[in-house]
Amino acid sequence: MPNVKLENVSKFFGNIRALEGINLEIKDSEYVVLLGPSGCGKTTLLKIIAGVWEPTSGKVYIDGKDVTNLPPEDRNIGFVFQNYALFPHLNVFDNTIYGPVIRGKDSEESRRNAREMLHLVRLAARHDAFPAELSGGMQQRLAVARALTTGSSLLFLDEPLLALDAKIGEEVRSEMRKMIKDLKLTAIHVTHDQEEAMVVADRIVVMRRGRVEQVGSPEEIYRNPANLFVAHFLGDANFIEAAAVDYGACCKLKMLRWEMEFPKVESGAYVAVVRPEKVEVGDGGAEGIVKNFRFLGGVSYVEVGIGDESVISRFPSGREYELGERVCVCFKPEDVKLFKYPDEGLKEALRVD
């Protein structure tokens, strides 16, 4: 049963530190997503676990065995490449059975196995087509089938939905998760799309600039982001500059020309993170002017300017606002995540690249 462990993995390309001291454990039949902006090192990490690249330092364990110096062909893995890398000169069936054939296991059993796999991804009818003749969604499914026909139960997916149209990608990702769960596979999936990560993952590893920022279930990470960057990258959030003032038993949080009672924290400068769905527009709270209003179908959002800051509220569609309307916004203390004001400045702390 495959589990993966990384110990202090680093990768340098010349002077560029692509990965620094990554420690990570992935349990058997867990669906883990490596999430981060482009250039954060997530694909590098995936390729190191798969053995396509070697780490500069650190160790990689699969099934408790040290595989750091093992070439990819000896790791018994399945890998779905970003552009699928379907062999253009082989037809659907030959692509699928390539793994067993190349290991000298071209038996009746492996052929049956390959046919079953094609059946599973609904490509059995197209077994003699060539990759160029398939639609994007079919190519993606073929890539998954090919990776799984090796009999591996450890699957690597490198941005597997990037090449698909948005709508098809949405269908494929749910379908893919269901199949991976049904087959009880361990999957490591790389993406920069936070929504995709939330939909498929058991656990998300948020990465930035070659480091792991936070590991947790989608809900944990959304509700309890470890820092400002994670709060910013996963879901939408208001970042409001705030000051905490000690009043003995409790303290007061001053922000947006408004203040609220707050459980005791050290006095100082903070950033208050509030999800838009937790912001209410109504009576009381901070007063401001409607700067923007959009109807998005099931929900609407309104942006309220207060001084030179603005706060966004998202709510089930119903009420509409006029530009320039005077309104009040408020939120509850338990919906506020408080972070120390970053030394490098708020903008820098949130920067995605």
Partner: protein
């Protein structure tokens, strides 16, 4: 300004332009080559068909030609693929050095190269081979090797490396991945490289002359035998052999073009453990290929530099020959630049749907043995009683023409048409688009083509010997020296030519 642009962009101007380009090619480059087929012999008073009787001498020469060409192709591919793979796939400094080293024998005129290789293997060098069949093979392997490595590395580079990685994650060793994935994907590149080398070997004269033995060791390839016939005024025999060579080359070309997209390399058989074992021998470090490259190609190619000695009073003659060579090469290159780029446009854009036809005809010129080409052209142009220097120049125009057309046509084909459309939308006339967008973008390949055409003309021997009587280009002079056993002078002339070529190539490339 706008008026002239518009006029130059008009349909009639385009038609006139392409007509001139096509006429130039057909009348001045192509027709003279085929003249030999129409008129079997030079005596204009009678149409004497070439004798269809093939002597033992001829069939021996043909047999030698084909077996040597075949063996050279096989050796080149076996030892060329690993080096080509390193050049295409490695990103280290090694790649840069290898690139340079592999190109070096190309700069060497084939006559000088053949001379050098013959010296290396023969009694003056390590004494392993004496002149004759095997010596000719050694010479041919040396001068064809750079062609195959160049072509193959370009073909390998075009295959996305992700395919190899995908194959490895599916469980194949690097060697198996290369054999089952990369090799089939660049098979047409392989086939074309093989054809190029085969026909180059089939048509080579200058270098081969250096390795032709005597007495019981005598072995000549078909082009050399043709030249010997011509020198002994046995023209019908020379013409017969030429026609056979032209027919065979054309047939091969047609066959390869037909096969290129059809034949497959079967991948079904796999020997995982054996290939893994091979792979673990670290053959990807290419020890054998490197050893082969250095010992069989590089060392022999430049061995002659050991023999350079300056003998009295020949300096003037050598400089005269170099002058003639450069004059002819320069004139041929300039003429071809003017008309060849037009042909490249026609082929690359497939104008009027006749692109493929002219591509095939241009390829025919490449694969045609230069001795046959020279013989035919000589017969043709002497009809008009032209000055010898002019005939020589026309011969060189014909033989270097494809070397400009091919790379330029390829780069025109690869050009992103959106760029030109963007320029049109921004208000440029087609003529302006050509001068401001297309031309600057294909300039590197025009320059590369010009360098190749120039070099090809500079090192050409067979065709020159077929027509020249008084004017001697430098390769011809080198052969004269060798025939007179004046090895020092031959080495000196070769070295001098090498230096001049090197400087010329360097200057051209820097632009």
């Amino acid at each position: 300004m706008g008026g002239t642009d518009r006029l130059a962009s008009g349909k009639p101007v385009e038609v006139v332009f392409y007509s001139v380009v096509i006429l130039f090619f057909l009348l001045l480059v192509f027709a003279p080559i085929l003249y030999i087929l129409l008129r079997g012999c030079p005596d204009s008073s009678a149409v004497c068909l070439p004798s269809l009787y093939i002597t033992k001498e001829m069939s021996d020469a043909l047999f030698n030609s084909f077996s040597i060409a075949f063996m050279a192709v096989v050796l080149d591919i076996i030892f060329g693929i690993p080096i080509a793979w390193v050049i295409a796939r490695y990103k280290t400094k090694l790649k840069v050095y290898l690139n340079f080293l592999v190109d070096m024998p190309l700069i060497m005129p084939t006559a000088a190269l053949g001379f050098s290789v013959a010296l290396f293997w023969g009694g003056e060098g390590i004494g392993l081979l004496s002149k004759g069949f095997w010596m000719i093979l050694a010479v041919h392997v040396a001068f064809t090797y750079p062609y195959i490595v160049r072509t193959l590395s370009a073909a390998i580079e075009e295959v996305d490396i992700t395919y190899e990685m995908a194959s490895r994650t599916l469980g194949s060793s690097p060697l198996t991945a290369f054999r089952t994935i990369t090799l089939p994907l660049f098979k047409s590149g392989l086939l074309i490289a093989a054809l190029l080398v085969f026909t180059r070997s089939l048509s080579e004269t200058g270098a081969t002359m250096m390795a032709v033995g005597s007495g019981q060791f005598f072995a000549a390839t078909a082009p050399v035998q043709t030249l010997l016939y011509r020198d002994s005024n046995n023209l019908p025999a020379a013409v017969t052999l030429s026609i056979i060579l032209i027919a065979v080359s054309t047939l091969l070309l047609a066959l390869v073009r037909y096969l290129a997209n059809r034949f497959g390399i079967p991948m079904v058989k796999v020997y995982p453990s054996f290939e893994r074992y091979l792979n673990n021998l670290r053959l990807e470090k290419n020890v054998f290929a490197f050893a082969f490259f250095i010992a069989i190609i590089l060392l022999p190619s430049f061995y002659l530099l050991r023999f350079v000695s300056y003998s009295s009073g020949e300096f003037g003659r050598i400089m005269d020959s170099i002058g003639v060579s450069f004059l002819i090469a320069f004139a041929a290159t300039v003429v071809n630049l003017i008309f060849g780029v037009g042909m490249a446009l026609l082929i690359g854009r497939n104008k009027y749907g006749i692109g493929p036809l002219f591509e095939f005809l241009t390829d025919m010129v490449i694969v045609m043995p230069t001795i046959a080409l020279g013989l035919s052209l000589g017969l043709f142009w002497n009809l008009f009683r032209l000055d010898e220097l002019l005939v020589l120049a026309m011969v060189h125009v014909s033989l270097s023409y494809p070397y400009i057309v091919k790379p330029v046509a390829a780069s025109i084909r690869e050009l992103d048409r959106n760029l030109e459309d963007a320029a049109r939308v921004l208000g440029a006339t087609p003529f302006k688009v050509f001068t401001t967008i297309t031309l600057p973008l294909i300039m590197p390949s025009i320059l590369a083509g010009a360098v190749m055409a120039f070099m090809r003309s500079l090192s050409e021997t067979g065709a020159t010997m077929a027509v020249s009587t008084t004017f001697k280009t430098i390769p011809v002079l080198i052969i004269d020296f060798v025939k007179a056993n004046r090895y020092g002078d031959a080495a000196f002339a070769s070295a001098l030519l090498l230096i001049v070529s090197f400087i010329a190539a360097y200057l051209l490339r820097r632009k």
